[in-house]
Symmetry: C2
Subunit: 358 residues, 2 copies
């Protein structure tokens, strides 16, 4: 019993430091990650935790003498740390991700023409900026999204709306596939909108349009109930998540219509996931058909050093490759779903104790 | 508007025939499947529907003259059917499943030693029988489950319990990996239990044990709270699902412990999925971390012709390859989860209007 208590004690200390709920298993996962890497951002990735939580754990391990920072600014286990790992029978995190499809189950290169066209057209894409909480996914992620949607019967002949996060250029990729009946893209960032519209005009893509809209405001009435599919990347506070998804639902034509969105364990905890899931299945009344972890891989943003996440990091060293990932959700609207198109307040969008990368 | 009504009308007619809730999108998916295959079981697979629902739709299409049965006992579209497809802009279902990992994101061959050992040891495995509602998954599925569990930090050094469905031999595969701290297998079928125990004894696997237990009965008190991971394949009526998962939860040590199980859209509708998800996140109080569609592929069982599904099929032709798949769920217990270890009545387990393959 004494062994269990040591990890629980660490979880309690880390909870105070990180300000986020934590349990024994989280400590295990960080220790498991430390057996593979010393880079803080890679540990966040392995441990599947919000940055403040991972920082709280690493800081606690440093303070309690289980770990130290070496001359390369890497986090290393001390002898005391290795003893702890032995005592608890903790093993290095195993990685079996499929090399072919990057673990998504759908390889982006199965539509190599689309992938090439997307890369070609997006060479000069606008850079992600902090003003709009942007962080672009890899081109492989964007193209995989299109193939995933197609594989579920949600692309061909469908009316699709992309609500925000067009820095990922998902709307553009859908339009380039030329399979949807129509593509409507709304985003607050004029740069993405202009970028898309220029391509649509140049390539003669007539069934796609993009326009600037602040998604905090209700959408134009004539859009409600007009779409088969919405795609979004909701903010991850409970109020804003709920409002974004409800706004998406309000755009759907009828039951059987679907929504896609990303959700992280980097800016939300598993506790909050449960709240989101209760809201989706209860209040909003949809069924969740898919949750694919690590589907969305993000390119580290240029403004990384200006984020709360960077500030919280116990070591100021750059990430090594991709560390920020999100899960890909698909939801299906069932009969009786209700429309909502109200105002989302700034308060709803504010950073809370779990969010840190915006 | 007249176009939308035609599909809705078909959905209403099919709903009466199939006794299961249906909407427009379901009709679309069956028509989309008919553009690729004439085999009823493959259509069920493409359309992701309970068998009674798919049968209801196909029977409606036959009666209304949109489809006919050809001399090979395949279902074919009539000219009227093709006109409908054109009118609604319906396209053949697209398939982008990764060939390397069979769409699971984790290729079974990344532990080729385990795969070989599993095949070697299971050459003479007991055949699936109807008495216990069995239907075995492919060996690739079983091995992929082990790798998946390992990749989430839920295998190495963990105490694992497999509750029922050991005709899949998941418990055996976990034991063969030699990575868990302990493996406990309980199943009603003495054949699987004896099969496992013989192998454990022969190979000198000391940390695994299997014993016969009827999961309708409460588990022995000394098992409660002793495991890090439970794996099960719950019956898909609401009452039995809920009881099975709660029973699994009662075995878990603490928060952060996890459960894995399969859930189909063949014996449950998407409506019921939402109910399951509400029960999981609300009443049971866990978070859902993963839902991977089509993770579990089933070998068509020998007793297929004795099932309600076969009886419901509009055409009595054998399946072509795998048609029965289920999604793989992972859930995480959060603080405050409660234990339940009561009795599950036979009534709870009975077939209902959506189930048909047992």
């Amino acid at each position: 019993m004494s062994t269990a208590n040591k990890l629980i004690e660490l979880a309690e200390k880390a909870r105070e430091k990180g300000g986020v709920n934590l349990y024994k298993k989280n400590i295990e996962m960080v220790l498991s990650g430390l057996l593979i890497t010393g880079n803080f951002w890679s540990i966040v990735d392995y441990a599947d935790l919000p940055v403040p939580a991972a920082a709280g754990i690493v800081n606690t391990l440093l303070e309690e003498g289980y770990a130290f920072i070496d001359q390369n600014q890497d986090i290393r286990l001390t002898q005391k740390g290795y003893d702890l790992i032995k005592e608890y029978n903790i093993h290095p995190r195993k990685e079996y991700r499929c090399q072919a499809c990057e673990g998504r189950g759908i390889p982006f290169y199965l539509d190599i023409e689309l992938y090439r066209a997307f890369l070609q057209e997006t060479k000069n894409r606008p850079k992600a900026i902090q003003d709009y909480d942007q962080g672009s996914v890899t081109p492989e992620t964007t193209v995989s999204r299109v193939l995933f949607i197609d594989s579920r019967g949600d692309l061909q002949g469908k009316d699709i709306v992309v609500m925000g996060a067009e820095d990922d250029l998902t709307g553009l990729a859908i339009a380039l596939s030329r399979k949807a009946n129509s593509v409507t893209i709304i985003d607050i960032d004029k740069r993405s909108i202009d970028f898309d519209n220029e391509i649509f005009e140049r390539l003669g893509i007539k069934n796609a349009k993009a326009f600037v809209w602040d998604l905090r405001k209700p959408l134009p009435e004539d859009m409600l109930g007009k779409f088969d599919v919405f795609i979004t990347d909701p903010p991850e506070t409970i109020a804003a998540f709920s409002a974004f998804i409800k706004r998406g639902i309000s755009l759907l034509k009828d039951e059987g219509a679907v929504g896609y969105f990303g959700l992280t364990l980097r800016d939300s905890s598993i506790y909050r996931w449960r709240e989101f899931q209760k809201i989706l299945t209860g209040e909003i009344g949809v069924a969740i058909t898919d949750i694919i972890q690590d589907f969305n891989n993000y390119i580290t943003w240029d403004y990384h050093k200006e984020t709360k996440a960077y500030e919280l990091a116990p070591v100021k060293k750059d990430p090594e490759g991709i560390w920020y990932r999100s899960a890909w959700y698909r939801i299906e609207a069932l009969p009786g779903f209700s429309r909502w198109n109200g105002v989302i307040s700034d308060e709803d969008l504010y950073l809370d104790e779990e969010g840190s990368t915006t």
